[in-house]
């Protein structure tokens, strides 16, 4: 299991590092919100999910997309604006989707997919399907009205949904303390009527274990659950670089999170020979994905007018 987790974690980290490295070439003409430092949350929760389960995410969605099994080649092509991208170049980095892998899209408007995830969970329950939904969002999203409204409905209808708040403590450059009168997000979830727990340390194995427990609980029909996962964004809010020069946070604050880097933690748990094999395979896969993106064509001009409406079905 460690090997699988390591592969997923390492792969996401390296994909984003490659994207950051490619960025100055201006081939990725798209805002990129990197998850570097936060990967363990997506990897941990998705390890507890089945292929038929569904996730909804945010513009900071590379990690979730990959952890849930989204196609890597199509993701890189999407970043490059190519027609072979997961949204044919029309969505970009902020709107990754792969319905076949259960990745149901991501919004650039904060908080909006929380309600969509709730609706999807309602449909699953109505159809008595065994799948569940996981809704990923940031700490900032919990300030939007849609957060409280969605949680209330999920409790009311006892929906099969896991809410995952990736709390990296910042919304752009503003700390949670400066935005929330009582920065206890779990307390709000509990007040709305669902069990909630905070996972403090960004530790992958902990996330996996807790994820399996609560997902099992939800799958058995016990209703929604709330998980707040404390984590830390290493890079700037948007873009490939660091942002400590802006002065809204310090490198000292980031250091403990970097010291407990989950990629290294997991690497230490597996056999060095296997580790090298995994890394080599992942690097090859990533190189192939970037090659694929580079060599893919851009959409033709006619594409502009396609997909405004779904073709009417007979």
């Amino acid at each position: 299991m460690h090997e699988q987790l390591y592969r997923s974690l390492y792969r996401i980290r390296r994909v984003e590092e490659h994207a950051a490295r490619a960025y100055p070439s201006d081939k990725i003409k798209s805002p990129v919100h990197l998850s570097i430092g936060q990967e363990a949350v997506s990897v941990g929760v998705c390890a507890a999910l089945e292929p038929n389960d569904v996730v909804f995410g945010t513009y900071r969605g590379h990690a979730l997309y990959l952890a849930k099994g989204g196609d890597l080649k199509q993701m890189i092509a999407e970043l490059y604006g190519k027609v072979t991208g997961c949204a044919r170049g029309k969505g970009g980095s902020m709107h990754l989707i792969d319905p076949e892998a259960g990745v149901m899209g991501a919004s650039a408007v904060v908080g909006t997919t929380i309600a969509n995830a709730v609706g999807y969970a309602y449909a699953l329950k109505l159809r008595r399907e065994p799948a569940i939904v996981a809704s990923f969002f940031g700490d900032g999203a919990t300030e939007e009205g849609v957060f409280a409204e969605s949680l209330n409905f999920a409790v009311l209808k006892q929906l099969p949904i896991l809410f995952v708040c990736e709390n990296n403590q910042y919304a752009i450059h503003t700390h949670q303390r400066q935005r929330q009168g009582r920065p206890d997000i779990c307390a709000r979830a509990r007040a709305l009527g669902m069990p909630a727990e905070c996972i403090e340390n960004n530790e992958l194995l902990n996330l996996v274990e807790r994820g399996k427990q609560v997902v099992g609980r939800i799958r058995s029909g016990l209703g929604p659950h709330f998980m707040e996962a404390m984590t830390y964004r290493w890079q700037e809010h948007v873009g490939p670089g660091a942002d400590f020069h802006l002065g809204y946070r310090t490198e000292d604050e980031a250091q403990p999170w970097k010291d407990s880097d989950q990629v290294h933690r997991l690497a230490d748990l597996i056999d060095p020979v296997r580790r090298t094999e995994i890394e080599t395979e992942v690097e090859e896969e990533i190189a192939a994905a970037f090659d694929f993106a580079e060599s893919s064509p851009f959409p033709s001009p006619a594409e502009l007018h396609e997909h405004v409406f779904q073709e009417v079905c007979a």
Binding site: G92, E144, T174
Partner: protein
Amino acid sequence: MTASRTTRPARQSRALPKSVAGAEALRSPGEANVWGFEDSAPAKQSEISRPVTRTLSYVEALREATDFEMARHESVVVFGLDVDDPKAIQGTTRGLAEKYGPERVFGTPLSEDAMTGAAIGMALAGLRPIHVHIRMDFLMLAMNQLVNVAAKCHYMYGGRVHVPLVVRAMIGKSWGQGAQHSQGLYSFFMHVPGFKVVAPATPYDAKGCLAAAVRDDNPVLYVEHRHLHFTHGLVPEESYLVRPGKARITAHGSDITLVGISAMQTECLAARHYLTTAGIDAEVIDPIWLSPLDIDTIADSVERTGRLLVVDNGWIACGAGSEIVAAIAERLMGVRDLRVQRMGFAPVTCPTTRCLEDLFYPNGRTIAAAARDLVEGTKTGWVPDEEPKLAKLEFKGPF
């Protein structure tokens, strides 16, 4: 203090000059634009006599106007997501929190709906809030408060209260802004009685319109475009107002009238240049205020040229451009033979990939091509070669 009562602007019903270009005009060196001027005194107009030599960016002009209005009146407060963060909304709010303190300038939680409602409450209590949104798309979370409350209060309560609220909202473009960070949705607000809408396209107007918006006792949507933020122009040091309901002729011509809204103003001026190479002399108008709209200035122009091409910074259907064309048709039917056309975003969601995004927006060349066809009354197939100095602003991310 009940400041909102003491700063009532001049009555709207005053007859508007046909155009402010002319007597009070000033030509900026090397530019086609002709700026009209009004002075800072709220109730009367006078000329700014000293020549203006200072160049500011749109961002700086906007910041200066905010600073001036905050200094002028304690009741002015500025808030919104990230107004006090290190990037200070592209610099438009830089230094204001330090100068006026965190009670008058503050970042908010991510709660557009509630903060809009709160802004209305503040306005009802006599404050003059400026609520800032880094993208116009986020206004969609605040529509109930804006449409059902802000726009309605004065009328619904029989004039007993008013809502002096400014909502600043920025339209994004390029570098993959895509579906949800690129929309020009101001026509929604033009549709609703009780809202004023302004879309300044120059640093001069950015400053004068913000001051006019803050001093207005009604809700005003102040539309910015992030490409305009980077433009520079002459801006007087003193305070002045660019009042509601007046358009400006930014370039004179006799063959066709081009009306360019927000950032499309720049593209229309580029189109005018291209058209001269085809021997066509275009007049260009900037409506500046979309609501109330100065249809007189546009109608006068079209009466002379007989052709109208309105280029919107949004979708065409039910858009600001549609409104202008319809109003002109009503006004000039039977008065003059005319040909009209609307341009705007392609009728699709904004795609992120550059090759499709380029096709999504009108630009100087496509506007010139459409204008020439309109003038000649036939599809000529002419599209001017790109002139590097008129090429669209290359914008680089990450955002």
